[in-house]
């Protein structure tokens, strides 16, 4: 059994909305509201959900790029929010991030070599020729030539830039990489290269990933476990196989049904959710999904659904899922 690397408990991030010259707080955007999950060593947790549901905010809070409003995160047993000094430096080394946009995430004025070497220098891992050698090895590890050291990001294609970003993330020998939509901006043939590369690195280096995406085909391909997020909350979490064979939350089921399938024989009628995702400023009372849920009942509008563990590792937040006989309240027709 692998050890738990990252433990997130009841994490919250509220952004205040202010008004007037005294910046009076008139409300909050509840971007992340009480989410909990674990990531084990060598494991990939996929996080799916639509834009604005809080996926990126959650990762930024975990990385301590922004302050949390509540809850705990522990990494390797240490309380992340109280880390200081050397321990904090180690944490920043151990947890890296790769962003969606390989165009804006690399400094255009630095050479590829300097981009990758930045962290190695800052963390005093190596200097001079040794540093250069390390960068060369990293470039080769991600399938680029060591000879690219003195070239600039604009000389590279989207897929190559994403490889540079991956090499930079690897430079500090991290244990966990947060991948925030790392292939969404790439063409399919390039996407395949990057997905294969991430899989290879995971195996070689026993890395863990928090893999954020909106693409249900990609997330199945990469993840060991998957969590669905809606309006700041995790509404379902399960092992990948269980997630795909027995999705329970109506929102997860609707996402599946909306995922354009290649199977022409499955000419199914998609579940079409009404309207848009409501604002996270005044999220709906009761179950946050009830305004769009095709099967919502009276209780859904009033009472907030508690998380239910329906089987080993399968959590769902829905009033209509029966714990003793878990069946999805809505099927894909």
């Amino acid at each position: 059994m692998n050890n738990t690397l990252l433990e997130v408990r009841n994490l919250k991030k509220y952004f205040p909305i202010t008004k007037g010259i005294f910046s009076k707080v008139i409300g909050h955007v509840k971007a992340v509201d009480n989410i909990s999950f674990d990531i084990k060593e060598g494991e990939t947790l996929g996080l799916v959900g639509e834009s604005g549901c809080g996926k990126t905010t959650a990762s930024r809070v975990i990385l301590r790029l922004i302050e949390s409003t509540g809850g705990e995160v522990s990494f390797n047993g240490d309380d992340v929010f109280s880390l200081k000094g050397e321990k904090l430096r180690q944490f920043r080394k151990n947890v890296q991030i790769i962003f969606q946009d390989p165009y804006s995430s690399l400094n255009p004025r630095l050479t590829v070599g300097n981009i990758i070497a930045e962290g190695i220098g800052a963390h005093k891992i190596a200097t001079g020729a040794k540093k250069k050698e390390m960068v060369g090895e990293l470039l080769e590890k991600v399938g680029l030539s060591a000879g690219y050291y003195n070239r600039y990001p604009h000389e590279f294609s989207g897929g190559q830039r994403q490889r540079i970003a991956i090499a930079r993330a690897l430079s500090l020998n991290p244990r966990l990489i947060i991948c925030d939509e790392p292939v969404s901006a790439l063409d399919v043939s390039i996407q395949a290269q990057i997905l294969n590369l991430l899989a290879k690195l995971k195996k070689e280096l026993n890395l863990s990933y928090l893999f954020i995406t909106h693409d249900l085909s990609v997330v199945e391909h990469v993840s060991d476990r998957i969590a669905t997020m809606y309006l700041g909350e995790i509404v379902e979490i399960a092992d990948t196989e269980e997630f795909y064979s027995n999705p329970l939350h109506p929102y997860t089921v609707a996402l599946f049904s909306a995922n354009p399938s290649l199977d022409l024989a499955a000419k199914r009628k998609p579940i079409i959710l009404k309207g848009d995702v409501p604002s996270a400023i005044e999220p709906p009372r009761g179950c946050r999904f009830h305004t769009r849920c095709p099967v919502a009942e009276g209780i859904c509008r009033i009472e907030w659904p508690e998380p239910k563990d329906v089987s080993q590792g399968h959590m769902v937040r829905c009033h209509l899922v029966d714990k003793s006989n878990p069946k999805a309240p809505i099927g894909i027709s």
Binding site: G159, V188, S189, A192, A199, L262
Partner: protein, 345 residues
Amino acid sequence: MSNSEAILKIKDLKVYFDTDAGVVKSVDGVDLEIKKGTTLGLVGESGCGKSVTCLSIPRLIESPPGRIAGGEIIYKGKNLLELSEKDMQGIRGNDISMIFQEPMTSLNPVFTIGDQIQEVIMLHQHKTSAEARELTLRILKKVGIPSPEIRIDDYPHQMSGGMKQRVIIAMALSCSPDLLIADEPTTALDVTIQVQILDLMRSLQDELGMSILLVTHDLGVVASMASHVAIMYASKIVEYGPVEQIFSNPGHPYTLGLFTSIPVVGRGKRDLYVIPGNVPDPLAFPRGCKFWPRCVFAEDICRSQEPFLENIGEGHTAACHFRGKIDKHLWKEKTNTGSFLNISR
């Protein structure tokens, strides 16, 4: 199906851009056909020439630097490339509508959405402003905007991405076009909003009988929307046919590569196929078949002679010297990824 009438036929279309670096051949001998009342999915990777193809149909290529260097665009029997600018304007307003790739930039932020749709209506149809407003309300309702009487006076920034895309569709439909050209209409949207928009397009097509040219890079969207598919690579169509044919029996190595390089639910975690190399630079296309540097089947003839679209089945064409011989079985032997192709039962 094969003898139903074509509303649009593109033959050997060439669209070139004169740039400082040289002539960019963005579209270089494209052949396409859209049958009346159906949807053609145009698929290909970034930069292969999909948008330029779309823009050239209503003759919206900016010139200079762009120019149509050859070919024919036959719409309802008339070659659009031979029409006067005045006649073309009539076609643009009444026959052919276009939804552009950048949805957020196609609405003007300083006017209400109602004003923008009314303006389009009044530009192309003889209507008073009261009539135009009435029609606008009807169209907004049709595309599923809730409480259109209130929303009609909204500015674009007051609407979500999905709402804006509905408004753009409303605008494109305001003249009841016979042909709708939709360039990546849902790429910027979330999946649950994407199905709403696709469903809307489908039901409007059923109701109004329009034909659709749908550009997308998502083969799943093609599967759910199109009756025919054209696969574009490096400024040309390399495979064309009914969607069932292309999905169950792809015949061009590039199409086979595309299908095996995407993750498909239920296929498991084995490595995806990677098409080797990169998309060629349009300033320096390889001689012969443009795909040869990346093709596992390439032989000498591929490096010297360019293949053209030819029949490999009922209404199914491929541009490959080994067309008809290459199929998923041979692909499986060659790349060890053939089982990936069992996508259509």
